[in-house]
Amino acid sequence: MGNPANAPLIDVDNLGVRLNTSRGPAQAVRGISFSLKRGETLGLVGESGCGKSVTALALMGLLPDNAVLGGSVRLDGRQLIKLSDADYCKLRGNRISMIFQEPMTALNPMHTIGQQVAEPLRRHKNYSAGQARTEAIALLDRVGLPDAAKRVDAYPHQFSGGQRQRVTIAMALACEPDLLIADEPTTALDVTIQGQILDLIADLVEERGMSMILISHDLGVIAENVERMMVMYGGTVVESGPTDEVFRRMGHPYTQGLFRARPRFGARKGTRLKTITGTVPELADLPSGCTFADRCPLVVDGCRAALPPVVEVGHGHGVRCIRTDVSMADRVGAVSA
């Protein structure tokens, strides 16, 4: 608010999250830094358990009480870490919103969808019940719910998964937030619906000038929907940069592995999917050096000594690997995604 247009909307610096699990403290997120201007979009990609969702919840201030946060998160210059819960409540749903993975469970079965969409408007904008209802119908209409005026009083179980995700999008957008965090918004949906929902989100982000952080494990989703991307592994960002640039010149062996592991259209029958050998390391006992060292085809002793520094390999394109000379020379050049 009142900030120059080129100042970052959200500025994350060296964010760290330690969770106390039954297996001891786990460093779920280590030293993540990025900043987003108004209207920019960022993708977070990685396997399950790499810290994507924890990062999202940390930005929302929704981590369990026993989580220990480090670093800084600034929204329009205001420090959010250690913000009191009451103050955070005023931001959530108002300036920062989130869309969740499971539309089947993200709506309360006991309330009508109209009530649920109107709720943030009533709380954050002090709308009257009537105003909020009218606005809720308009929002539901905008997100493409058929016959919104009639169905506003229906309950979540009366909708399909895709329709419910449209409702949760309407809920998240009700107060016109500055930042939208979409945590795997299409993972639980049919493939045929996925594209529609992503298009809808992209349209709304553009239309309202929001910033968006899109979280996905699907490289295709990331490639088509965001300007910049960060690849996460074991709680660290292993590669980041403009989406086109990263896809053209993947620098980290993990990103390359992810890319090779996706199913390909037109592959010969009987071709086996490539996999990355090994499993994701336990966050409770991460290796001391590069977190990917145990699964990396290019590993050398130096990898295990210390967490590799970020190497700048192109404009705004950083790779956390000491063997980019080999990995990027080895790279099969331009790949049209």
Partner: protein, 298 residues
């Protein structure tokens, strides 16, 4: 905003049920167990109310000459060992039974649910404290706490109601906290938090409505247990004092005469069964009617 196409063809535009309030009574009247339960509960409440203005015989009048009479035209269900009219006793007994059930369950339900919700919402040491306190209360049987209370304030209906109520608190605390914790772990609660709701509003708007059905069922069970506990306490001389009748006391009085006049035990037993059955059916029906997922035509 009607769709011109559907309007032109004259199709029904929607099959979506409207808001819960409008259709509630219409659905309620078609819900068999709700109607039956409501009827039985009304019967019990009606008896209690009736006894305030009229009973066939004065309920406390002892007539030793006509004791243990079988049912006849003047005493419809016969008389007890003191020659008191059974119908009159049942009518008057309904009052204390209802009082005990409603007040004791009321005490247990309100404080138990509040503590349980608080424990689930706050977690940490608040939860520990509440749960250990309820373990502590639970460790004392209702009879023991009634004896302690009676020693302090003297025996009577109030004493037994309070003791039963206190005994019920930990039961409701546990049920509430367990089911509330399950709701807190659901994604829609996370979504509600992400939309800026605080703990109190989430508890009231999201957690409570979703555990209501469990609480209703538990409350009807506890109501039955409260009636039986009152009977036991009366038997020990800690509950309602003679000559004031209650169904539990009548049941206990009949125990010594089980071989001479077994029907004496059947009448109050049947009355208790009717009250409990009615409440159970009512609670069941209420749960169905309040849950939008079950609100389809039945």
């Amino acid at each position: 905003m009607s769709d011109p196409l559907t309007a032109a063809v004259g199709l029904p535009t929607t099959s979506v049920p409207s808001r819960p309030a409008t259709g509630f009574w219409r659905r309620a009247l078609r819900h068999r167990s709700f109607v039956l339960g409501a009827a039985l509960v009304c019967l019990v409440i009606g008896s209690a109310l009736l006894s305030l203005v009229w009973t066939p015989w004065p309920a406390y009048e002892i007539d030793i000459a006509s004791k243990l009479k079988p049912p006849s035209f003047s005493h419809w269900l016969g008389t007890d060992s003191f020659g008191r009219d059974i119908v009159s006793l049942l009518l008057v007994g309904a009052r204390s039974t209802i009082l005990v059930g409603i007040i004791a369950v009321g005490i247990g339900l309100t404080s138990g649910v509040c503590f349980g919700l608080l424990a689930a919402a706050r977690k940490g040491w608040t939860e520990e404290l509440i749960m250990r306190m309820s373990d502590f209360t639970f460790a004392f049987p209702a009879v023991l706490s009634a004896i302690m209370l009676a020693a302090v304030v003297g025996p009577g209906m109030l004493t037994s109601i309070t003791a039963i109520g206190i005994f019920q608190i930990p039961i409701f605390v546990r049920v509430t906290r367990g089911s509330a914790n399950a709701i807190w772990a659901r994604e829609f609660v996370l979504a509600a938090r992400a939309s800026g709701k605080g703990g109190f509003r989430i508890t009231i708007e999201h957690v409570l409505p979703n555990i209501l059905s469990i609480l209703i069922v538990q409350a009807t069970i506890q109501f039955a247990l409260a009636i039986l506990a009152e009977a036991a306490l009366s038997y020990l001389g800690l509950g309602t004092q003679p000559p004031q009748p209650s169904w539990g006391r009548m049941l206990n009085d009949a125990q010594t005469l089980l071989f001479q006049s077994p029907m004496l035990a059947v009448y109050p037993g049947a009355a208790i069964a009717v009250a409990v059955l009615g409440l159970n059916l009512l609670g069941d029906g209420l749960r169905d009617l309040l849950d939008p997922r079950l609100a389809r035509e039945r």
